[in-house]
């Protein structure tokens, strides 16, 4: 067959065809990144999420250096202090420092959101990929399962599962992910089915690639943009779901602070301590907004047609 030596002896006319060869390699990812970078609002939104995430990670540092309070520190003699000297953003009904709790709440709220997204994406991608790739009865069984999971109105399922499992941040993330994976699986399966149609999959099969290679090297990278968008938009949705569950009393349980339960908790004190309502509300709004804006920005970056 064609050994290297034989290749070398071949001298092809027209081998000099070149593009404008000075340009650096432009991968899809690079180009998308360029487009994303051009979207200043989108970048700001993304940066905001990163900043919040950093604050969450560094919560112990912040509470030690900046606020000098622990999130659980109670001072019954200083309840409902308005924002100002002693407490930067005021204190709550047990005299706990609002800023400190917001910082620690970021940990819980963002942690739940990110963990949920991670679990949903992992499970959903695996299931959707296999269902879409292998097809046939395997697909039928998996998709019937997904149908079932998605046919239960999600909020019912969250309620029932929150009753069953004591809602800690981790269990809450798993609870929300128990539905989230289904949506991801559907999404991924749809993408896989469409990518599978494309000739390069056939081309890869024609050279004898194994299934795993096809999935990991070809399907996954092509599904990835959709996943990244889903993840980014998902963070916002999950924060809202978590807040709604907090509101129904089935979310993160006090005294652990999350933005959702801080907001719900503050509801009773609207009339005399509006800052308790104001700050967690703003945090949720800004974060979800940032997540949506960033998600949309990424989508636009990946698929500029729809912008």
């Amino acid at each position: 067959m064609i050994g290297p030596s034989r290749v070398a002896e071949l001298d092809m006319p027209g081998a000099a065809i070149e593009g404008s060869s000075t340009r650096p390699a432009q991968s899809y990812w690079n180009e998308s990144w360029e487009r994303l970078r051009a979207n200043r609002i989108g970048i700001m939104a993304g940066a905001l999420i990163v900043v919040f995430a950093l604050i969450a990670v560094l919560a112990p540092v912040f509470s030690a250096v900046l606020t000098h309070y622990e999130p659980q520190t109670i001072d019954l003699s200083k309840t409902f202090s308005p924002p100002g000297s002693g407490h930067l953003l005021g204190s709550d009904e047990l005299g706990r420092d609002t800023l400190t709790r917001l910082i620690w709440g970021a940990r819980v709220t963002l942690g739940v959101a990110l963990l949920t997204v991670a679990v949903s994406l992992t499970v959903g991608t695996a299931v959707g990929m296999m269902a879409g790739y292998y097809g046939g009865w395997f697909d039928d069984v998996l998709m019937r399962l997904v149908d079932t999971v998605l046919a239960i109105p999600a909020i019912f399922l969250f309620i029932l599962m929150s009753i069953l499992f004591k809602p800690t941040p981790v269990s809450l993330a798993l609870i929300i992910a128990s539905v989230g994976w289904g949506q991801v699986a559907r999404l991924v399966r749809g993408e896989v089915l469409s990518v599978k149609q494309r000739d390069f999959i056939l081309a890869t099969r024609s050279i004898g690639a194994r299934h795993l290679r096809l999935m990991a090297r070809h399907l996954l990278p092509n599904v990835l943009p959709v996943l990244i968008v889903a993840a980014s938009l998902g963070v916002g949705q999950i924060i809202l779901i978590e807040a709604a569950l907090d509101f129904l009393g089935l979310g993160i349980q006090p005294p652990t602070a999350s933005w959702g339960n801080m907001l719900t908790n503050a509801e009773s004190y609207f009339f005399h301590s509006v800052w308790l309502v104001y700050f967690p509300g703003v945090m949720i709004f800004v974060t979800v907004l940032a997540s949506n804006v960033f998600g949309n920005a990424i989508r636009d970056a990946f698929d500029p047609r729809l912008k």
Binding site: Q72, I74, L76, L94, I163, L248, Q253, P254, S268, F271
Partner: protein, 576 residues
Amino acid sequence: MSRDEVADDKGFEQFEKFLEAWSRRDFLKRAGAAGAYMAFLGGAVEFLDACAGTNNPTTSAAKKGGHVVEGNFSDIRTLNSMLSSDTASNQVIGLMFDGLLNYKKNGDLIPALAAELPKTSADGLTYTFKLRPNLKFSDGQPLTSDDVKFTYQLAYDPQYADVSSPRRGDLSKYIKSIDTPDPLTVVITTTQVFAPFLASHALYGILPKHVLGSLSAKDINTAPYNTAPTVTNGAFKFVSWEKGQQVTMARNDNYWAGPAYLDQWIYKVLPDSVAVTNQLKTGEIDIGPVDPGQFDAVKTVSTVAMSEFGVPTFTFYAYQLDPGKPAGPLFQDKAVRQALLYALDRQSIVTAVYFGHGQVANSVEPPISWAYKDKPQVVVGFDKAKAQSLLDGAGWTKGADGIRAKNGTKLKFTMITNAGNKQRESMLTVMQQAWHDIGVDATPSLIQFPQLVSQIVSIRTFDMFLVGFNWAADPDVSPLYHSRNAVPGGFNGADFKNDQADGLLDQALNTLDRTKRKQLYGQFQDLMSDLQPSPVILFNTGIYGVNTRVQGTDFGPFNQFTQRPWNHGVWVTDGK
């Protein structure tokens, strides 16, 4: 008012055991709720006067017509007095049905359908009731002793064993027979002397035999009458129940005490305590229970009068006393139990968590009870130093991590309460910190109410639980503290077993004389203040907001939701 005059006699020492502390709103997370039903007060009467929110009926000015909308958090479940076990249902049933007797607001019994308080036989076993003459149901049919007997039969007669009545346990235990020698006379013979009998069991709304008598026991459980009682005997009759929204009632012109002033009484279901506050403000509701946290917000509203009063409800926590359970050994020593209580600044809890609407408890009896002992043998105040020294003395010494330990066991446990009750959640948080300060590692944990119930009454693997308890007028506290109730299904979940306590409680139950009883309960309170098996943190108060256009309400410790002898006298100044 005629009712008040009647009520003026020295009421019986009747007891009702009434355990609705975990009323239904606890299920519903929307929790401000929880505070409203269980509440206590110290100096109830002064409060009532001071608040001046309640309007004693002034017959001269009373106008006919109009309506009252009363707001609350839970929907009703049933309108059959013999099937109902929840506060919301009882509350609405109370508007439409009278029983033989009723309460005054201090808990004394007064006659209702009965013409007077019953005659008790010398052996204390037989009660003879005389009904008022010419009693009628709302459909004009006479109400006779047959109806009374029928009503009670549903819950004690074996022929009606299939009726799912929550009263069956007590009634079938205590009632031997019911005789109706004539249409106006009911004779109830009991199996044993039981002091709280009347207070507990003479208040059930009387049902019409001519409507339900033909039904089989099983059919009664599901009769349409339970959700739409076409025939009633109380101040109001049933109009409609729009599930999840409201129950509408209209004046019953056949009411024995004369027709009510109001055309309609509407019981409206609201989402939460914030909604009660809002709707009191907007006038969408006229009457509603106010959460302590909302008190100030409502108080400033000129159209709403506030009424606050003590209620026989307390909030307590219980140590695991069964030495066989994981945390049991921690609490066997009285010193530990006392020390933990000494470490709690309960006045601050009342002030901060309950916004001052409550009273630090020194006793297991409510201060509004006649059996209350103001200064029991041991009064536990806030004394951190004493807490420390008690623990030191008991051999619990602080380790390197600041947590006390004895023989290698750390003083470390988990406290559970039901999720969604804001005050209890806050209290656990406060307790966690207070105890942490004296080297005790307590972790709060919130679980759903049914799981808490399971923990308390059957599973019992908890370390410590926090919950509220609502008592009736009678000072009997054996459900929580008698060793016979430390069995599966019993309420002595802490597994408190003390022969002396059992003896005092039993003796008091079989004593009809109030002075003697009071003395026995005094001893019991002394004993408990020393042993502290399950310390009571505070007594709550009941707070109602009433629109100033509404006159004639008279909320009090025992006339809060179910028993309200003044229902028919309520009127509205604008006649709307």
